[in-house]
Symmetry: C2
Subunit: 154 residues, 2 copies
DNA sequence: CGCTGCCTGAGAATGATTCTCACTCTCTAT
DNA sequence: ATAGAGAGTGAGAATCATTCTCAGGCAGCG
């Protein structure tokens, strides 16, 4: 298979993951390392089962229960982000420094990301107005992407 | 476009629901009437099972499967709105003319609604910038409500 | 009023996620 | 290093919201 992927973007060495975990107070195990690495390599919006499948195929076997446990733990530590696009299952991606939201196409299912800092500010303002201290949020727009929109709305 | 709604508060007569269904091309059944009426009477964020419980207690018995089927159908016709507040189950409410979003308290679980028309506009703009035709959206802010925030962050 | 076909209900099925618990491994203190 | 304590793991069972199945019912048209 392909070699250790692009060391620049996704090629986190074991040593740095170990250190990352230590900094966050997370006990290091190879399973946890594998899961985090797989989420990062997947690139986008992967679900637990697919993650489990990939891990079983290559590298070391990791139990499905552990995949779920680890994803939840990584989420609590802010290392992965969880979304749900009107589907039953959750999807995960590496938590970026900057937050982004999602455009979900109802026709082809494609999910694209977008950022709109102004929205974030307004959200914060709206929350504050209600005496609410917002920690995180989830914003998803449902509709038709460029390709499908052309097809469906003449 | 007739603004015939709010017959008092909950007192929608059978006749108007019948007509409403007809206008939407929905076959009228007493079960469907009961479900819609119960959602409206519940007032806020009720889930399918609770709805089923209430219907079984009072009025006519309605099967759980029918509750689910009907909720989905009413949602597709824009008569009820569905949300999911980080829980497993979905919650439903009467679809209002104006859209609103939700503030979900991570401590006490309380859900309050808010409106921020400016956010809606920005969303629309962001979507358009990506060639995306937005039909609906879902925005939830997670954090601490006024009461819980005082307790947790002194 | 009688068909035709959509609607309903009870229970089974589904499927994503969580739980259980015996066993294993990590980490810290020796 | 090493051992001991305690947290992590895996396989399968359990959970549980939701959907499916299909025999029997009604709605609505003619």
């Amino acid at each position: 298979m392909t070699r250790q992927r692009a060391q620049g973007r996704t090629g986190i060495e074991s040593r740095s993951i170990r250190r990352l975990f230590r900094e966050k107070g997370i006990v290091f195990t190879t399973q946890r390392e594998q899961v985090l690495r797989a989420v990062i390599e997947a690139g986008k919006h992967i679900d637990a089962e697919e993650l489990h499948r990939r891990l079983s195929a290559s590298r070391q076997r990791v139990g499905l229960a552990t995949v779920y446990r680890t994803l939840q733990m990584l989420r609590e530590h802010g290392l992965v982000a969880e979304s749900q696009f009107g589907e039953r299952r959750h999807r995960y991606e590496q938590a970026e420094g900057r937050h982004h939201d999602h455009l979900v196409c109802l026709a082809c299912g494609k999910v694209q990301e977008f950022e709109e800092p102004a929205i974030e500010q307004l959200q914060e303002r709206a929350a504050r107005r209600h005496g609410f201290a917002a920690l995180s949020h989830r914003l998803e727009l449902y509709g038709y992407c460029r390709a499908c929109g052309r097809r469906n709305t003449p």
